[in-house]
């Protein structure tokens, strides 16, 4: 049951991670078009600036959870050998379940509320000449933070049941 939950979260994170690939290429294409349009067509676009930072936000938000699952977030491992695997496991379990999950959930709660408010009011970005709707970007932030909270819970549970090294504990990435 717990293992199923962990696998489901992993699978979801991996899916979002792969979705971020589209935005990396999309961002390069958008900026490329902007530069082309400015120098060869004689007019800059109104949307490239907003699209660029928004896509960057999307990449961060969609990729962060899988990066956590993949062990890609920087940590210092000098004390690992001194502490031994059992203590390491307990520290990480407590940190992820008792600290990271509640904190990220609290942030996620506000992210969802903020996004819903913008959606209901149809708020637009005022500083931009393009004036895009805010809610799609805020929805991305909300999804990303929720996913990160879920992944933190999954990481804690994975260590709690001792499945972090067993093959069963990881959805292996198939390229």
């Amino acid at each position: 049951m717990v293992l199923k939950f962990i696998h489901a979260v992993d699978a979801l994170s991996l899916l979002m991670f792969r979705a971020s690939f589209v935005f990396v290429l999309g961002m390069i294409a958008a900026i490329g078009y902007e530069v082309f349009s400015r120098y060869f067509l004689g007019s800059p676009t109104v949307w490239a600036f907003d699209i660029t930072y928004m896509f960057n936000g999307v990449i961060l938000m969609f990729a962060a959870a899988w990066t956590l699952s993949d062990g890609g977030h920087v940590r210092v491992d000098v004390l690992d050998r001194v502490m031994g695997p059992a203590l390491r496991r307990w520290i990480d379990t407590i940190f992820f379940i008792a600290f990271c999950t509640p904190v990220l959930s609290a942030i996620a709660y506000h992210a969802v509320r903020r996004g819903l408010r913008s959606f209901e009011r149809g708020e637009v970005e005022m500083v931009s000449p393009w004036q895009p709707l805010i809610w799609p970007f805020q929805a991305v932030l909300a999804i990303g933070i929720c996913l990160l909270a879920l992944q933190c819970l999954a990481e804690g549970l994975r260590r709690l049941i001792g499945a972090e090294t067993a093959a069963a504990g990881r959805v292996e990435e198939v390229v």
Partner: protein, 435 residues
């Protein structure tokens, strides 16, 4: 000092969390939340959300994924192998020619990627076997690889510069201009040392691996194919940033397109190359930016608790003068560099240091260049040297840690000389501010 009690505990608690091996980004976020609660109560979560929004919508930071992607593609494009052969062809006749070729390749590569670890591993895999065959001493080999790998931070365009400039609110272009000359000085010093060491150690006589003499026509052809395109591409990227033709993000995107075209011309473009590069991009970008998110939260909460005034009071109390203050701050950066990676150092140190530097009248760009050189030095300095850990991963088992530590020392000395030169002649670091 009572009012500073909370602020004073923040940094030690953070360092403790990091030392016991908790992920840096998550330590920052959790700690910020804990310290935000007493001030903001129920809306602490909303405050932290605003920081996530702020970092996610920062236009300047958009250059990060593009540079990472560009570096990942270059790494897999076969440009490196060609470059190494072409460089050896020209530099073989000099003492320590292989070492020189390695540094030259690293310099061009560093311009292409701006990430240190990946460059070092790749260059190491190519250069170590060749140098071993040529009977280079182990310490010279390890020093060369580590020093070459460290160039990623100091040769523009580097991601460190993008992050630094957006955090400290100084011009990215000016900072790129600022690190250009120190970077070149450092490359020159590295090469000079390799020539001297190789001559003394006899590496030039023992160079059994010397390539057969190539006819000039062939040499020129290889140069045109292997050296000129990447070099021109890098010069275009750096040039368009320095002259202000393109924003950093735009130069990065155009550079990425250029690299993709070059990879296609070399016949290496494939779905799996793109896929692998995108994977690296997602992993590294989210790793770096999540630390930026956490760091932004941490320093803001630190300032709310009076941390900023606490630090400047402390500096006043020490009364060591402008120059002393600068040395002190650089020293702190160096010590932090022993435990933390560069993103975390910048994130924690900058927002606290920036106001202090502003109040002293020391040029911010000059200080930034010095910080970047110091970060690069701490990357190389034992006992906690990331460069040596990366080297260990690709070095043959008979190469000892002792040889590695001995090997990097002369190169650290070269970096210190560079640091002193920049200190004595601030003009080489700040000429870009007036562009």
């Amino acid at each position: 000092m009572d009012e500073y009690v909370l602020a004073a505990t923040m940094v030690p608690v953070l360092i403790m969390m990091i030392i016991i091996g908790l992920p840096v980004a998550f330590s920052l976020i959790v700690l910020s939340f804990a310290y935000a609660l007493p001030i903001f109560g129920d809306i602490a979560g909303l405050q932290l959300y605003n920081f996530i929004d702020q970092v996610s919508s920062n236009y300047a930071l958009s250059a990060v994924p593009i540079f990472v992607f560009m570096g990942a593609v270059i790494e897999r494009s076969g440009i490196a192998e060609k470059l190494f052969i072409a460089m050896r062809m020209w530099l073989d006749r000099f003492p320590g020619g292989l070492g020189l070729a390695t540094i030259a390749m690293c310099a061009i590569f560093a311009a292409g990627t701006g990430i240190v670890g990946a460059v070092e591993v790749m260059v190491g895999m190519m250069a170590i076997p060749a140098m071993l065959k040529a009977r280079y001493k182990h310490d010279l080999i390890s020093g060369t690889i580590c020093a070459g790998g460290s160039l990623g931070t100091i040769i523009p365009p580097s991601i460190v510069v993008v992050i630094y400039a957006s955090l400290a609110n100084i011009s990215v272009g000016a900072l790129f201009a600022g690190i250009l000359i120190p970077g070149l000085i450092m490359v020159a010093l590295f090469m000079l040392y390799i020539v001297v060491a190789a001559r003394r150690g006899g590496e030039d006589r023992d160079a059994v691996e010397r390539l057969p003499e190539v006819p000039l026509g062939e040499k020129l052809r290889l140069t045109a194919v292997a050296i000129v395109p990447p070099l021109v591409l890098m010069i275009c990227i750096i040039g368009s940033i320095l002259t202000g033709i393109a924003a950093v993000t735009e130069a990065a995107a155009v550079g990425a397109v250029g690299v993709l075209i070059l990879t296609t011309l070399y016949g290496k473009l494939s779905f799996s190359l793109l896929w692998e590069s995108l994977k690296v991009t997602g992993l590294l970008t989210s790793m770096i930016l999540l630390i930026v998110v956490g760091g932004t939260m941490f320093t803001s909460i630190f300032v709310v608790h009076g941390g900023g005034t606490m630090v400047s009071d402390l500096i006043d109390w020490l009364s060591v003068g402008d120059f002393g203050t600068m040395l002190l701050l650089l020293g702190i950066v160096f010590i932090l560099g022993a435990v933390l990676d560069w993103v975390s150092i910048l994130i924690i140190a900058l927002p606290i240091f920036a106001p202090i530097i502003k109040s002293t009248g020391i040029d911010e760009t000059w200080f930034a260049v010095l910080v970047i050189v110091v970060i690069q030095t701490s990357y190389l300095t034992p006992p906690m040297a990331p460069s040596i850990f990366y080297l260990r991963a690709v070095a043959p088992p008979e190469m000892s840690f002792g040889a590695m530590y001995r090997g990097v020392l002369p190169f650290i000395f070269c970096q210190i000389i560079t640091l002193v030169i920049v200190m004595l002649f601030p003009q080489i670091a700040i000429w870009g501010t007036s562009l």
